[in-house]
């Protein structure tokens, strides 16, 4: 990524051509790897003999069973988003503003759920929320027989809880990333002028955070709107989202007209959500003074702050740590106690068959694919974020919206679209191992853009102007003003992109080579056969995935201290 070329104070002509050049990158990327395949498959469905036939769309929107699915999809996504924001915002404050031992580790740890394959998380939730839950045993032990028993499996509550579990990190990190840089003096000033805590929060802090909050809300909404595995496993067959139906009509029934009509309905809602989000964004982001995170965080002061910190830690413990602990516990169970047997047997596969990959091989594949995907996503997303924040025209807003679409469009639509659109030279990507990281990058890019735009947009233009007036060259302005502030966001974005790539399953399962499985694919394969060893090894592999993610994210955050931490 070479943002140096995007000069700031040079002539308008050079500036706009540089912007155009930068814009070409994300446009090409998203056009070839997303818009073209999706358009091809939808067109195949709606114009089987070359003539557009919209009757499947009419049939779909007048089918009461499908309308129920649409209603449920919108309902569960909205409730999931609100719940995630309610629980995630306090936690964003905690990791952004309070300095306490283990804070960095915590920030990395909350991201772990986000990358775990749904099938693994669902199995952890199953045992926590199902009839044989250890929580039920506990209730009986405390209150005796007849104690209230938890059985949320195949209910909407299981879906909502799992959605909060998965997306908590999106809110904590997207909002926390901006919160860590807000100048607390503005809030202090408001309080000096007589505003109470609540009023200060509502009138000073909240408006300043609005770009990040609306970005997080948009991502969570789109993610849960297209939820697949969670709904399938935890919701059971009676609760279906549009995504589940698209998958059924495409992969199982090959009824492309209906699938395409459903894809258009899905697109309609996604665009609607993006328009609302765009409105919210345009009221901000207000230019504001941003500070280095290190200057902002303070140790908790007073009983109230300590209680607030404790309350948040308890939420994380119950919501995030408990399901993860279940996974780790099972990976260590050996039938007669606890030990590392399952990890040891992972290395020495019983037979050298093609599916039995050693964990290290899967880790290597995941890391290589994830690294490439991260570089691609940060490059493309960085260029896009720069263009979006620098030019405020309709075209830039459109680009911003289009880049969000991959989050809201069914993975199976994209996957099947790949098959029939990228199948001829020069774009015969079907046979290329590059397809895996590229597909992962398509999913990760929206996150990079969303994390970078609020921060880039909030850099005070006057700082840049001042530096330019003092004789700094554009390159220097970028280096001295933007990079220190944006650098942290870039690293957050890279960490997230990596996490998404490493955990990506929906698209990867369609295109992964049998001999280059990633960790989630290897876990999925282990769960495909009966037997206690297979199940236990899947849990051990999941634990390895958790540790890998947490390690990489912690390492990335450490880089920050060395290069752009202090100014």
């Amino acid at each position: 990524m070479d943002l140096d070329g995007a000069a700031l104070t040079v002539t308008a002509g050079r500036r706009s051509s540089a912007t155009l050049l930068l814009a070409a990158l994300p446009i090409t990327f998203i056009g070839v790897l997303f818009l073209y395949p999706v358009a091809t498959i939808v067109w195949t469905g709606l114009a089987p003999d070359g003539r557009l036939d919209l009757s499947p769309v009419l049939r779909v929107v007048s089918d009461p069973a499908i309308l129920r699915v649409v209603w449920f999809t919108v309902w569960q996504a909205t409730v999931s988003t609100v719940l995630t924001l309610l629980l995630g915002l306090p936690a964003a404050y905690v990791v952004a503003r309070l300095d306490f031992p283990g804070r960095k580790l915590l920030r990395a740890a909350v991201t772990v759920p986000f990358v775990l394959p749904t099938v693994v998380v669902a199995s952890a939730f199953l045992s926590l929320l199902g009839p044989r839950s250890p929580l039920n045993d506990l209730a009986v032990r405390i209150a005796g027989e007849g104690a209230p028993q938890l059985s949320l499996h195949h209910t909407v509550w299981a879906i909502l809880l799992a959605h909060v579990f998965f997306n908590y990190a999106v809110v904590v990190r997207t909002v926390g990333g901006l919160w860590a840089h807000l100048d607390p003096r503005t809030e202090e000033a408001a309080q000096v002028l007589g505003a109470g805590r609540v009023r200060t929060f509502l009138e000073v802090t909240l408006p300043a955070l609005r770009p990040a909050i609306s970005a997080a809300a948009a991502i969570v909404f789109l993610f849960t709107f297209t939820s697949f595995g969670v709904v399938l496993i935890l919701g059971g067959p009676r609760l279906a989202t549009i995504e589940v139906e698209i998958h059924r009509f495409t992969a199982q029934l090959l009824d492309l007209p209906t699938a395409s009509a459903l894809a258009l309905v899905q697109l309609l809602f996604v665009v609607g959500a993006l328009v609302v989000y765009g409105r919210l964004q345009r009221r901000g982001p207000s230019r504001q003074r941003l500070r280095s995170a290190a200057d902002v965080a303070r140790p908790p002061r007073g009983a109230r702050q300590r209680a607030f910190l404790a309350a948040n830690l308890i939420v994380m413990l119950v919501l995030l740590a408990l399901p993860l602990a279940v996974l780790v516990e099972r990976s260590l169970a050996t039938g007669s106690g606890y030990g590392l047997d399952l990890y040891r047997t992972l290395g020495e596969s019983r037979r050298a068959s093609i599916l039995a990959v050693s964990p290290w091989e899967a880790v290597r594949n995941s890391v290589v694919f994830g690294t490439v995907a991260t570089v691609v996503a940060v490059t493309v997303g960085g260029a896009a974020a720069w263009v979006v924040t620098r030019s405020r025209g309709v075209a830039a807003r459109l680009l911003d919206g289009v880049l969000m679409l991959p989050l809201g469009i069914s993975a199976v639509t994209v996957g099947f679209g790949f098959l029939i659109s990228l199948d001829r030279p020069p774009l015969d990507l079907r046979a290329s191992p590059l397809l895996v990281p590229l597909a992962q990058a398509v999913v990760a890019t929206p996150f990079v853009v969303r994390i970078l735009v609020p921060v880039l947009g909030a850099v005070d233009e006057r700082l840049r102007e001042a530096a330019a007036v003092m004789g700094a060259r554009p390159r220097q302005v970028w280096r001295e003003i933007d990079l220190p502030i944006v650098g942290r966001a870039l690293l957050v974005a890279a960490g997230f992109a990596f996490a998404i790539s490493v955990g990506e399953f929906g698209a990867t399962v369609f295109i992964a080579r049998a001999n280059l499985p990633t960790l989630p694919i290897a876990i999925f394969r282990l769960l495909g056969q009966p037997g206690a060893v297979n199940f236990g090894q899947a849990m051990a592999m999941s634990t390895i995935l958790m540790v890998l993610t947490a390690t990489v994210i912690t390492a990335i955050e450490r880089v920050r201290v060395g290069t752009v931490g202090e100014f």
């Binding site: 399938l232 093609i354 080579r513 049998a514 999925f524």
Partner: protein, 376 residues
């Protein structure tokens, strides 16, 4: 706020270079190197001048086998074939069996690979109607149980056979307590987990077993009784077996589940330490036969090599390798079975069977009727 001069390197370009190098190693390091040339499967319809349409005999040919994601075979069996034939095998897993067939239909004429493995009798007619395959009668077919050869034109070749059966948890239900027929299953409805036939291959097989047993007029009544009795429906095998079933490695509380005839030997084989007796049992009267086929994809450039791959899949070494890797039985007769199969596996002699053409004609209709009866 003041600005200090912070020495900032330019790490981004370096990262990009490192990543690209990594990528190059990752792709180039693979023996197959498919990225370099348009893969052998692509017929290159637009006359691109650079692409060589056929491989010269001295050049190593790569044959791509499209499979479902539970295809599995030993590395040594693959290595031996590659060494002997000079053919390089590329394995492309593309989702579950149904999704794989649909992808093949969508890309008919310009296939992703040369050979497709894993279409079974529940999806066979869809694949044959779409004219996916080139006919080939393998000389090895003589050693195969003739009952498994369903297509007279030999567009597909049977490779393995397995049954979808009800499994029960032997810790909860004694061997003489379990239902011995599908009719007797009704009182057990609230202890039974089935998969949704719209999303799961064993679920579809079990639905077909009930259609064959009770007839087109009677199967919905049976399902209505199961639904009224409180049968649990899961969307996939993983949730049904690990999440809802109480036997073996399952964590649920239902002692009856739709799984495979080979699940008990798998429970023994994948246990540490291995028990003498399987923790689960199979109700033979419920078993529905699934035969898996392989076929040469129309549009391949390497038909002769693809035929060699089909022969190899029927060869004794491949067939002997099937049980412990895919937990199904070999199609070839006279193949030595592993001990764990001999002791714990059953291949019912008289399974429930339904003509694949009839399945093809009514599959969607039956699944739709099932959905209305059981789920709505």
């Amino acid at each position: 706020m003041h600005l200090l001069h912070t020495p900032v390197r330019s790490p981004k370009r370096l990262v990009a270079v490192v990543a690209m190098t990594l990528l190059a190693t990752a792709c180039g390091g693979e023996p197959t190197g498919t990225d370099a040339s348009p893969s052998g499967s692509t017929p290159a319809p637009t006359g691109t001048t650079a692409a060589e349409p056929t491989a010269t005999p001295t050049e190593a040919v790569t044959v791509t086998v499209v499979t479902h994601d539970s295809f599995n075979i030993s590395e040594e069996v693959i290595d031996a074939f590659e060494a002997e034939s000079g053919i390089t095998l590329e394995l492309l897993a593309s989702g579950d069996a149904g999704s794989m067939v649909n992808q093949a239909i969508l890309t008919a004429g310009n296939p992703q690979g040369d050979v497709l493995f894993g279409v079974d009798n529940t999806f066979l007619s869809r694949a044959l109607d779409a004219e996916l395959f080139l006919p080939y009668e393998s000389p090895e077919l003589g050693a195969v149980d003739p009952e498994l050869v369903l297509d007279d034109e030999h567009r597909v070749t049977p490779i393995d056979v397995g049954d979808v059966c009800l499994n029960y948890d032997r810790e909860v239900l004694a061997d003489d307590e379990v239902p011995t027929s599908l009719e007797e299953l009704v009182p057990f409805a609230d202890q039974l987990v089935v998969e949704n036939p719209a999303t799961s291959s064993p679920g579809l097989a079990f639905l077909l077993a009930t259609v064959e047993t009770f007839g087109e007029d009677g199967y919905l009544d049976f399902w209505q009784q199961l639904a009224d009795g409180g049968v649990t429906v899961a969307d996939g095998w993983e949730d049904a077996y690990y999440g809802q079933f109480s036997g073996g490695a399952g964590e649920g509380d239902n002692p009856l589940v739709v799984s495979y005839a080979s699940s008990p030997p798998a429970e023994v084989y994948f246990a540490d330490p291995r028990p003498d007796e399987a923790p689960t049992g199979v109700i033979e009267a419920s078993c529905f036969r699934q035969i898996e086929f392989a076929g040469i994809l129309q549009g391949t450039e390497y038909e002769a090599e693809a035929q060699q791959v089909i022969d190899w899949m029927l060869s004794p070494s491949f067939q002997e390798d099937i049980p412990l890797n895919m937990f199904v039985f070999p199609a070839r007769t006279g193949v030595t079975l592993p001990d764990v199969f001999v002791e714990h596996a059953t291949l019912p002699s008289d399974p429930i069977e339904l003509d694949f053409r009839q399945i093809g004609e009514h599959r969607e209709e039956w699944v739709e009727a099932w959905t209305s009866t059981v789920l709505r």
